[in-house]
Structure formats: structure tokens, C-alpha cells
Amino acid sequence: MADIVETQRRFRLVHILGWQDLKARYKRSLLGPFWLTLSTGVLIASIVLILGTSMRIPMVDYLPYLTIGYIVFNTLTSVITESCQAFISSASMIRQVPVPLFVYIERVVWKNLIKLGHDIVLVPVAFLIVSRPVNLHALYFVPGFLLFLLNVTWVGLLLGVLSTRYRDLPMTVASILPIFFYLTPILWMPESVPGELALRLLEFNPFYHMISLVRAPLMGDIPSYHTWIFCGIAALIGWGVALLVYARSRDRVVFWL
């Protein structure tokens, strides 16, 4: 717990490292990190072209829906896969400088938040293209996004610690995540799926709830009670478990590297 507080004091370090991670890939290119925005935009545009017409969903719904869903899912999976490597890839630093380990997790989260900040530009663009209005329910985005962050962070912390000890975990995670891209309503909408069963199963898909938390408000809905409860409980239990594991293995992580 003290580590997490200490990390906030050292936020400057988190900030520099996070930026550095992002910039490293785009250094000396003209557009810099906006390459991210551009490539995401191109991808979304092509999905819309291919699927949009065959979906029988009005474009005014589909384009914003897909854009938000895709961007948020991307953030979610990037944090998850990258936090598996959070300690491993910083091994030499961890072995040399006494910095709270949580810094390295927050670095991953922060990096992806900055990335999200670039991608999110596409959302108003999508809304403008189909000239879709936003209503007051969009305010739910704020608590929704905070809860989203809270959940993403404990998952990162837990995976970061466990992956350092069990080196097969990152691969396991990396192979499972893409499945959820199709299992989660990003390309499709729950309403367009026939059958009760699929919808029932959806209630157990954490990715669905996590995305709804952010997407629903912007689409003019309030996230459902199920979603709030699911994510709220996940955050409580998740943080409990993650902190417990972290506290127990914090001093050992450096020996596992």
C-alpha cells in the first residue's frame, strides 16, 4: 500500500518513462505518436466498409459504437499484455535502482492512457461523420472510466507479479486475448444476436462489462446495473487479491527476474 502512495509521489518518473516508451517507437518520424491515431483510424474505416453495410445496423449507431469499442478494447488488451512484461523488461533497472515496483505497472497504464488520448480523437470524428448527438448520459463516462482504470490497474499489478514468476503466463494471456475480440460485442451488437443463451453468456464476459462502462455513456445510455455491480465487485475483490499477492512477493520479485 505504501508503495502505491510512494509511486504517486514519484509520478514524474512514471510520466517520463511512459512517454519514453511511446515515443521510442515513433522517434524521428514526422507524425510521431499520431501514427497510432492514423493506423487505428484506417483500421476502423476498413472494418466499417467491409462489415458496416452487411450488418443491417444503421451507420449512425455502428460507426461510433465500433470506434469506441475498438479503442477501449485495444487499451484494455495492451495494458494486460504489456503489464505481463512490466517487470521482466525493466529487469536491469529493478536490479539497480530502488524504486517501488508499482512504478513499473503504472508506467504501463500511463503509457496506454497517453495512447488512448491520441486514439480518442477518432471518437468525435466518428460522431461528426454520422452527425450523432451526445446526450447528458455522457457524464456517466467519468465514473465509468475511473472504474475501468481501477480494474485495469489491479489486473496489471497481479499479472505483472505472477508473470515474473511463471514465465508461461504472458504467452497464455497473449493467446487468450484475441478470442475475446470476437466474443465481446465490438464488431457486433448484442441486440443483433439471436438467442437468449448468447446474451446470458455475455453477462459473464468481463471485457463486455469493461467496455460498456465507457461506451454506453457516450452512446447515450447508462451502463446497466449488472455492469456497475460486476465491475464494482471485480475492483474490490481484484484489488484485494492483487494487493495480497503484491505484498507477499514484492521483495521476491527482484530475485525472480
Partner: protein, 261 residues
């Protein structure tokens, strides 16, 4: 203040600033199998009765049952052959390794000059790297910006400071790292051999900087193979062998045994 004066004040200030009690550090070398789920799952599937030998991992005992106290004013040399545990011990003092058993109590700010170029980013400019290194060392940004010109002047890098680090020579890189690393005035200073950086002119400057640091530093711990250094600088020698303290005493007592006559 000379070393002698500090030794006297040490008598008054009797509380140790570093105290290790029975500290043990060991590294478990997991064979790939032991790190994977598969083994764990098979273990669960078979009722968890696989023998230790199957999941067993080699444990390297880097430090075993090390106990000592360092007081303010001491200049401690750590000697020993390669692999004796010198660097591990320094890492314990730097608060990076926590003993698996026993305790290590370290009071005060620690600066380690062991790997000063760590964490630098070759694509960033010298200026950006000063901020980056400073953030790692926990130096507030305000202080860094205030001292920026002073640091740059010290490095003698001139206009290079605004170029990316990848254009630097090794020596220039070291100078930059050195300037940032020695910015703080810690209570405890850790070194792996006496640091010498750069060309003749810079070496003199660096030497002076370290001397200045030592004046305000309460405790110096230095791992070394140099007899001269031990005799000239240190007030106490700890001889490590295979992770044990083999001898611990003033230089004139330990040096003849370790270095021979």
C-alpha cells in the same frame, strides 16, 4: 572535516546507521519447467506429490548469515574474490535486495555509484536524460531544472547537450551520468571500485567531486580489489568468501591476510 574527526564523533553517535543481522540472500534458479504452469498443473493433477527433485531448483546462496554494524564516519572496503558476494552485499545496502531471512536496517539516503549510466535513453537529448536519470534517483524536477546549467557545465559537453545520446562517445555518456549521479549528497555512498571517468582533465574534476561527496557522507562502502585503495581510504575491511564474512577489522589487520604481504 577529516576522517579522524569523524571517528571521534562516532563515539558519541553510537547508534549504527547500517545494521545487518544474520542476513541471508539466495537466488532460486528455476529451471524453465519449474517456472511454468505445466509443472504446477501436473502437480495438482497428480495430487501434488511430485518429489522436490522433480520441481526442485538450484539455490545459489549469495550471502549467508552476514551480520555487522556500520557507524557514521566509517569507510568500509568490501574485499573478496569474484562471486564472493560483494555486489550482492552492496545491493542489499542500496535496498534493492531484501534478506530472505535475518534483517537489514539501513538508515538514511543512499547513493549508489555502481552503474551510473543505467536507465539512460539513447534517443533523448542530454538535457532530457538529465531529467530522466534525476527522476530515477528521486531528485525533484525543480532542483534538476535549477541545477541544469551547473550540471551541463560540469559535464563539459557544450552543444552536445541538446543532441540525442546516441551521438555521444562512451566517455561523454559517462560524464553526463556521473554529473547527475553525484548531484545528491547522500548519507551513505556505495561504490564498486573507485570510479574513474573520462579523460585526464575530467578525471581530476570527478575526483574532486567524489572527495566533496565524501566530506558530507557519513558512510562509504566500496567493493574493491585494490590494496592501495583499501590502505589509503578505508578504516575497515570486510572480507567476504562464498557469501560468509571471513574477516572483519581494520585494514592493517585484514590486508596482510587477504592480499598477502
Amino acid at each position: 572535516m577529516s576522517v579522524c574527526d569523524m571517528n571521534e564523533s562516532q563515539l558519541i553517535e553510537s547508534k549504527p546507521i547500517v545494521e545487518l543481522k544474520d542476513a541471508c540472500i539466495h537466488f532460486a534458479i528455476f529451471e524453465p519447467g519449474a517456472r511454468s504452469f505445466r509443472k504446477k498443473m501436473i502437480q495438482v493433477a497428480t495430487g501434488g506429490h511430485l518429489t522436490q527433485a522433480n520441481t526442485g531448483h538450484v539455490v545459489v546462496q549469495a550471502l549467508s548469515h552476514v551480520s555487522f554494524q556500520f557507524h557514521a564516519g566509517e569507510r568500509v572496503a568490501i574485499v573478496g574474490h569474484n562471486g564472493a558476494g560483494k555486489s550482492t552485499l552492496l545491493s542489499v545496502l542500496a535496498r534493492i535486495y531484501k534478506p530472505a531471512s535475518g534483517t537489514a536496517e539501513i538508515i538514511g539516503k543512499v547513493t549508489s555509484l555502481m552503474n551510473i549510466t543505467l536507465g539512460t535513453d539513447v534517443e533523448s537529448t542530454g538535457r532530457e536524460n538529465i531529467l530522466l536519470r534525476g527522476a530515477f534517483l528521486g531528485i525533484p524536477r525543480k532542483v534538476l531544472i535549477e541545477k541544469m546549467e551547473e550540471i551541463i557545465e560540469f559535464t563539459d559537453l557544450g552543444d552536445f547537450i541538446d543532441l540525442p545520446l546516441r551521438t555521444y562517445s562512451t566517455g561523454m555518456n559517462m560524464r553526463l551520468a556521473f554529473a547527475v549521479a553525484t548531484l545528491l549528497r547522500p548519507e551513505i555512498l556505495l561504490m564498486d571500485e573507485w570510479l574513474s571517468v573520462g579523460d585526464e582533465a575530467f578525471r581530476k574534476k570527478a575526483e574532486k567531486r567524489i572527495e566533496e561527496m565524501l566530506e558530507t557522507t557519513k558512510l562509504l562502502v566500496i567493493a574493491t580489489h585494490s590494496k592501495d585503495l583499501v590502505e589509503r581510504r578505508c578504516t575497515r575491511v570486510i572480507w567476504l568468501e562464498h557469501g560468509h564474512v571471513k574477516m572483519d577489522g581494520p585494514p592493517d589487520e585484514v590486508v596482510p591476510h587477504y592480499f598477502g604481504k
